[in-house]
Amino acid sequence: MGSSGALTRSVRRFLGRPGTVGSTGLRPLVRRAGEREPALRELTDAELGAAVDALRTRIEAKGGAEPRGRAEARGEVGTRKASAAPWDDDALVELCALGREAAFRALGERAFDVQLLGVLGLLRGTVVEMATGEGKTLVGALAAAGFAVQGRRVHVLSVNDYLARRDAEWMRPVYELLGVQAGYVTQESTHAERRAAYARDVVHVAVGEVGFDTLRDRLRTAASELVLPEPDVAIVDEADAVLIDEARIPLVLAGGVAAGSDEAEAARVVEGLVDGLHFEAETDGMTVHLTDAGVTEVERALGVDNLFALGMDTRLSQINVALYASVLLRRDVDYLVRDGRIRLVDANRGRLAQRQRWPDGLHAAVEAKEGLVVGPRGEVLDQLIVQDLIGGYPTVAGMTGTAVIVAEQLREFYRLETGDLPPNVPCVRVDEPDRLYDSEASRDAALIDLVERTHATGRPILVGTRDVAKSEQIGVVLRELGLRCAVLNARDDSREAAIIADAGAVGAITVSTQMAGRGTDIRLGGRDGKDHERVTELGGLLVVGVGRYPTRRLDDQLRGRAGRQGDPGTSVFLTSLDDESITRHAFDPPPRSARVEDDGRIRDASVRRYVEQAQRVAEGALLDGHRTTWRYNRQLRLQREEVLDLRRRVLHDDEAARLLAELRPERWAELLDEVGESVLAEAARQLFLYDLDAAWSEHLARTADLREGIHLRALGRQNPIDAFHAETQRAFVALIERAQAAAADHLDTAHITGSGLDTEQSDVQRPTSTWTYMVRDHPFTAMDEPFLTTIGKRLRTAGREG
């Protein structure tokens, strides 16, 4: 690298390539903030607060009309105008200086210059890449305070409730010194607490939680119940994970109780099937299907003539779903069974996923497979993908340890620019090239050997695995050899903090899933850092990855556990040709030329390229999936906007009353005499909202149904996405009219008394219970691509033959 790398970087920056928003223009500001420091140190807390107020007044006086002082870098071109910020340089300098001082007084931590650079980066609405252990939380808090001082409302979006609460409480003194009101929301917060928290300047909240609040707000029946104000500024922690990896996970609000079908029977039938004879699974682990013999066997077991006859589709669905659950979803890899419930494992984080479940039937099928009580289920009332949630904020900024690698996607999906910050102390970690083995067994043997030899020196080791089962298996082997090790995975996350605190101690061996790979800070020399120097002499933390993760970012996150804040450290990945990333995504058998050494090691360069390519294929597949979801979702989002717009008018205005009075004038007049105007208007509102929400829920179900088979249109030379848009639009055009007509019909039969609408008698009862969850990608849906590829291949073969 060296100078040529620097040259490439500046050329890329000049060309405005993604991921190159520089910090050069900001450095003088940080220097000036440093010059302000001695003067501010002299002030009392009250005077500091007065200085913040002065800054606030100055900004208000200038108003939004003030153009940016500095000629803004190209980074701003075409990005969302976060910089609607009426900031000039002086205000930025003052804010940085005040923020640093407040943090110093409140936490005893003096913000580094690079942290202030990060704050400035966030304030101009970019995604900032910062190395581990550089203090992202403080950066986020200071930027949030900065936006708040401008009079904007900020949501600091974290990945889970624990972090939201921890950060809010940790940063509270800083916010207080800066005169900013801050709060947090977690899953346990009550309705009143939520309202109060969201009314503050800065709210720390998990992404999913704010999403669910958005969904619930969309179904409120009274304006006074809304908890969320209009979205304004979002500062996203672990931005790549939230914006890219989780972007297409739909958050779902479900309600009502649909009758459960008999999953147990399907599970029993499927249990009797034999792999290879009755069913076949694809090597990519995505699909499984019955063979002809399997169909016959199922028909025999169920006692039916033809499984594909009309009216058999529910039965057939159950069998298919049960088969999928039984063959392709693996216990301790894809899910755990805990407290009699199925808990999904988040593959990207290696920990239990909060509130996630599979789409309805599949989740029940897994429960049936494990012999658990089949849980409640309902109809999807509304859903929202994380990408649309974030897209609703006029200003978005983010921070993470791995952003540049996804800069292009951030630009494509969010119009966000990305830049990286140099670490405070240069990173001296050594990233060794991968060591590749011919089989899992020889790789594991080499791993144990490496751990054993390194452990003898006393150097701490972190072993990262892909799934829970593997981490436990390695833990068992190590313990059998008499090596003490801590195993950290989704199954036992209660001791997480303790295990991480000790992971850098002399002689520590920690085996973990990706759980330890993101967001954890491993201090060398144990929790108090007393052996720091000794561990440094031993070479710092050794990070060993067992097989590559599905994306390079996850690899980098794991590596990032070593070499924090200038500490030494080493990282190495041990891969084998049996790894899932290779068996699932490599398209050919490995090159034959490879020479396998006695211990199973392969040093052949062609094989190494082959392994790397498999990972790129995996990343490409993920990205294509994201893009496809995004395209299909676009139309639905526009339609939802339109319905919500109408809904808002109904909620805040007397739109429903006007409409129903027009549609049923006689009935309206009659009711008006009976119950009076205000009661009737309220009843009309309830009726119309009920029918509008029901119509939307039905529309969602219809489009989900359509989505599954739309790829078949490619066979008739149609673009499936265009066809999907045309069909959904056709269904949508009538939606609002249908809802209006239904509300009018309901009015005819409604029981409205002086005390209002009797929903039960009027047959417009809303679901008694609603619950929220996230849906894992429907395992069957991402099939556009393979299908088109197959067709494409045929075409090309045809071309070759012709």
């Binding site: 594909f308 589709d313 529910t314 669905s317 999928y324 309805d360 149904d705 055009v733």
Partner: protein, 440 residues
């Protein structure tokens, strides 16, 4: 349909896209008229006028919008790019490294697109050199050696420098076309390459129509002129009708369980087009029929069999030619459908993802059913293709028109195909703004 166009124009960003596309088309047409430096424009002109359009380059010339024979800077048209894309697509199947790239998703595809561009440049260097050589040798205007046309005079100065300049200009022209096409795809309406092809083909219409008027005798040429236009319109209508026609085979996906399923299956189907093969069979058949004529020409055209070919297979008005042409098209239609639509593969794919045709078992029975439907629907499709393709030959007999009869099968199929595709895209964009579409 016109009102829908007006609606599209009222939508600001759609209007911008339409105007942008039109502007690019204008640029493209202007470039098709600027001669390459070093070419004697007068000489080209008189040669083109004299030349019998029934030359071997007829089809290629049509694809370049007549620019080929004019030796303009866009003489090569979009053919090099199309050829390059086809070659790259084939190579993707053959070369593992390319296939690997393709599998990496967007970033890999972007690289392949880049390779396609390089190959386009290479091909256009090759083709422009060949074009200049054939122009000088006189082969470009095969039977055009007359008093006014002297092929040697087309490129008066054939010094190396001159030739290099000409090749460079034509290559640059092709790259520009490639860029224009990509601009349309990115910022305009429709697929850039298809649109430019559409423009090239349509550009030949007015001149060809005028020739009919000039050569016609009845009513001062106006009678055949309007008759041809009327036939053309009827044919366009017919082609639009058939191209839209499809048989919908309902499919259900049995993998989700929802309470209400009243609407299930109504919009999930396999659309089997009547003309599933598109334009390919016509192109295959006419290319194949060129071969005997080519051989005859190279052999000198003196021997008995060459004379026989000359009589039966060179001009399209002989019944033997027509029948052979027709049968070849029907054959290729079936051949192509059999290759591109593999019922077993489709059935297999459906089975894998839980799809089935109601009442029919997944797997082999589904494949057999699809095959049965496909065969039945391809019969009318192939007969239709054959008849459309024969129109110029019949016109040749009726009006004694030349073979570049404007409403030839190939050109109408291209025009309608691209037109429908583009209109559908506009429609889809309009729908995003909740307007009703063009095609009800």
């Amino acid at each position: 349909m016109l009102t829908a166009f007006a609606r599209a124009f009222r939508t600001p960003d759609l209007r911008k896209k339409l105007l942008f596309t039109l502007a690019i088309i204008v640029l493209f047409r202007i470039g098709s008229h600027i001669p390459v430096p070093g070419v004697s424009f007068e000489m080209v002109r008189s040669c083109v006028e004299d030349s019998n359009r029934n030359s071997l380059f007829g089809l290629v010339n049509m694809f370049s919008g007549g620019a080929l024979l004019q030796l303009t800077i866009f003489a090569l048209g979009i053919m090099p790019y199309i050829t390059a894309s086809i070659i790259l697509q084939l190579l993707t199947v053959v070369i593992p490294r390319l296939e690997a790239l393709k599998k990496e998703g967007q970033s890999g595809t972007a690289k392949i697109t880049q390779y396609t561009r390089y190959l386009t440049i290479a091909l256009s260097i090759l083709q422009s050199t060949a074009l200049i050589a054939t122009a000088r040798s006189g082969a470009l205007f095969s039977s055009a050696r007359s008093a006014t046309c002297d092929p040697q005079g087309i490129v008066p100065d054939d010094s190396l420098f001159r030739v290099i300049v000409m090749v460079a200009v034509m290559t640059a022209g092709t790259s520009t076309i490639m860029w224009l096409g990509e601009l349309i795809t990115d910022r305009g309406i429709g697929n850039g390459m298809s649109i430019l092809m559409f423009v090239s083909v349509a550009a030949g219409f007015p001149a060809a129509l005028w020739t009919i008027k000039e050569q016609g005798t009845i009513g001062g040429g106006w009678v055949p002129f309007f008759t041809v236009i009327a036939i053309g319109l009827v044919m366009v209508g017919l082609v639009v009708f058939v191209e839209q026609a499809q048989r919908r085979i309902p499919v259900q996906y049995a993998k989700r369980m929802i309470g209400r399923r009243a609407y299930g299956g109504t919009s999930t189907y396999i659309p089997l087009k009547v003309n599933q093969a598109g334009i390919i069979p016509v192109i295959f058949a006419s290319s194949l029929l060129y071969i005997p004529a080519l051989i005859a020409q190279f052999s000198g055209g003196k021997s008995d069999w060459a004379v026989w070919i000359e009589r039966h297979f060179v001009k399209g008005d002989h019944p033997l030619y027509m029948i052979t042409y027709f049968l070849l098209i029907v054959f290729f239609a079936f051949f192509y459908v059999a290759i591109t639509f593999n019922p077993e593969e489709v059935a297999d794919n459906m089975k894998k993802y839980g799809g089935f045709i109601p009442g029919i078992r997944a797997g082999r029975p589904t494949a057999e059913y699809l095959n049965y439907i496909l065969t039945r629907i391809t019969w009318p499709g192939s007969l239709y293709l054959g008849m459309i393709a024969l129109v110029p030959s019949i016109a040749l007999v009726l009006f004694n028109a030349n073979q570049n009869f404007p409403f030839g099968g190939t050109s109408i199929l291209i025009i309608v195909g691209v037109g429908l595709e583009t209109v559908k895209q506009i429609e889809s964009q309009l729908q995003q703004r909740n307007y009703e579409g063009f095609l009800r």
